[in-house]
Amino acid sequence: MREVAIAGIGLAKFGRYDGKKGRPRKLYPEMGGDAIAKALKYANMEWKEIQAAFGGTYYGGLGGTHQCVARVGLTGIPIVNVYSGHSSEAALRLAYLRVALGVHDIVVAVGAETLPGGLLDNQTMPAWMRMMGLDPLPAAAACRAVRYMEDYGATVEDFARVSVMERKNAALNPNAMFQQEVTQEEVLRSRMIASPLTLLMNCANADGAAAVIVCSKNKLKSKKKVVTIASMVQTSGTYGTTPSGGSVSVSTKVKNPDCIELAAKQIWEASGYGPEDMDVIQVHDAFSPAFLWNVEKCGFCKRGEAPRLLKEGYFEKDGKMPANTDGGIMGRGHPTGATGIAQVAEIFYQLREEAGPRQVAGAKIGFAQGASPGPNAVLTVLKR
């Protein structure tokens, strides 16, 4: 397989683009088009150099990528809409694979979203589970959070600490939805959504877009601080896991790796690196407790250790393993289709030393996790 580099990334600030309360009004095709244009500019490339596009929107209906691309140009290239996961990390993986395998040289992946308000449902559940009311995503996360508390003794304060850390990081990220910090008190006292998850332990529904251009290394316009994709893997559900990816219903005696653990095992093997080699990481946490079990499943600490490490500042920007330096999903907002690429984007900026006040000094290798209902997991290791 060929070495694949990231030539450029473009982000549209995550937030609300609904035309209400003085906010601008933009639909996702426009934001997606803007993100592609920004990525092209960053890469110093023109649209006509792009040979294929992969992308997706989770809630935007059909042909989301086509609609984004139509705003940049109609050059007849293959465009594939991908809906696995929160779309764009799986789209990025296909873009990466097609370049790595030599099918194309320069490919764009884009994710864009205009999200409805309210609780989102898990559409990967079969009809009967949805009829039972198990499909609102916070409800499924709440079940898993309680299970995690039972198994490892985690507390709601631990969950709140994740939110506090991420909102602190988000305040330093101009592309994040939230620019204000919150306190542990505020998190714990915010409105209950699905016990034990309060409002500020849930990510915010956001609109936004993210685009990334990947290419074979020889197509890069500048060879300075080149960021390459060391490895990228994708997995789906394993025996004993639910469509949300958890194992709510399974006995603790059964120990079958879920899709995230499986993917982690694969990527550490494939990349030749281990968790301990990472300088900066992005962990998927649409709900703050997910941060805890995901750092554990990805191998950054032992099962049940994350709450203690978090309390000790291990995952803070200046800690031992800086995580979610851009605010993560809790701080950045969660425009589902755009989130996967945004996860990778932060690592890209960190490795290129362009993360401004969020910069982790000397970051050379980074890790990004995408996860979603299905369940699906997509993991990425980037290196400079």
Partner: protein, 383 residues
């Protein structure tokens, strides 16, 4: 690149699975899982042989492919949901093909499944203002049809004849919506209810439920090498300047549309030309598009297709048998499953398993599939 073969195909008869009027009720994921099981059986393979899956559904919501595969087992391999409107499942096959041809995996699964709402289908690809103006799929097709009629001189009779031919073929296809008839006449088509002038009820495909699946693998992984069907050309093209969401044009042609672009690529890649084909599939959610697709794909000169249909050129037994399974008009159109249903017919033809529809000695076949976006996919299969 490695040679990629189709090891097996599975199919759930296209029809209605809504539990009404004595019809069976099946969930969308049951249909998909049934098709996958049949494809595995055909290929003489087991679920654990599969290394990667691409699945599709246009109307089922986001997680349908995961729902289908979890009925067979959850082995953790990558399952990617792709969407290309009516071309969705053929896009799924193309991604599996690319993975295998380039050595990423050895055995892959592609499938599409659908339960479709009744009535006219909206073209959700259109910008909001167009949807408000009433541009649903038949409406958009009607514009393209009018433009084509003006440019080519094709008549409503020509379009009716396509529908008649396809329904005749569908009668012989046990997987088709219109299996066992009834046969229709040109008069009946022309007198059927108007949907979007000039498109009438019997020129339009039926909203159908159904599923289809394909196991693709590197040739050396085939359990049986007899009559192996390989993919010798695969191309995908999308919008070019001057065409609408369906790849049609209401203006004079300025540059190649996505179908012409994909055909050019697939002929180059495969080393074959239209004249080499023994049996073909053309995409026609509305019967008039059969005519311009035959022309855009190079099977006749622009404006000639209507005349050739009249002469029986595309019939089973004609010079260039097309849509021998009934096409979309006769087979029904479960959008997410259609792309692979087209491939299935060619696969059965090349393996000599098409029963009464068999084109004797068919060795090379061509498939054209399109979907809103626009997307055009072209494949050349060879025994």
């Amino acid at each position: 690149m490695k040679e990629v073969a189709i090891a097996g195909m599975g199919f759930v008869k296209f029809g209605r699975y809504d539990g009404q009027k004595g019809r069976p009720y099946k969930e969308i994921y049951e249909l998909g899982a049934d098709a996958i099981t049949k494809a595995l059986k055909y290929a003489d393979m087991e679920w654990k042989d599969i290394q990667v899956a691409y699945g599709a559904s246009m109307f089922g919501g986001l997680g349908v492919p995961n729902q289908c595969t979890s009925r067979l087992g959850m082995p953790g391999f990558p399952i990617t949901t792709v969407e290309g409107a009516c071309s969705s499942s053929q896009q799924a096959m193309r991604q599996a093909y690319l993975d295998i041809a380039n050595g990423m995996y050895d055995v892959g699964l592609a499938f599409g499944t659908e339960k479709i709402p009744p009535g006219l289908i909206a073209d959700t690809l259109s910008p909001v203002w167009m949807l408000r103006m009433g541009f649903n799929l038949p409406g958009t097709y009607a514009l393209g049809t009018r433009a084509y009629m003006q440019a080519s001189g094709a008549t409503e009779e020509d379009m009716a004849r396509v529908a008649v031919m396809e329904r005749k073929n569908a009668i012989m296809n046990p997987n088709a919506f219109w299996y066992q008839g009834p046969e229709i006449t040109v008069e009946e088509v022309l007198n059927s209810r108007m949907i979007a002038s000039p498109i009438r009820f019997l020129m339009a495909c039926a909203n159908a439920d159904g599923a289809s699946a394909a196991i693709v693998c590197s040739k050396d992984k085939l359990k049986s090498k007899a009559k192996a069907v390989t993919i010798v050309g695969s191309a995908h093209a999308t919008a070019t300047y001057g065409y609408d969401n369906l790849g049609n044009s209401v203006r004079e042609k300025m540059n190649p549309n996505c179908t012409e672009l994909a055909c050019k690529q697939v002929w180059e890649m495969s080393g074959y030309g239209p004249e080499d084909m023994d049996v073909i599939q053309l995409y026609e959610a509305m019967s008039p598009s059969f005519l311009w697709d035959a022309e855009d794909c190079g099977f006749c000169k622009p404006g000639e297709a209507g005349k050739l249909v009249k002469e029986g050129y595309f019939e089973i037994g004609g010079k260039m048998p097309a849509n021998t399974d009934g096409g979309l008009v006769g087979r029904g159109h479960p959008t997410g499953a259609t792309g692979l249903a087209q491939i299935a017919e060619l696969f059965f033809q090349l393996r000599g398993e098409a029963g009464p529809r068999q084109v004797p000695g068919a060795k090379i076949a061509f498939n054209h599939c399109s979907g809103g976006g626009p997307n055009a996919l072209c494949h050349v299969l060879k025994r």
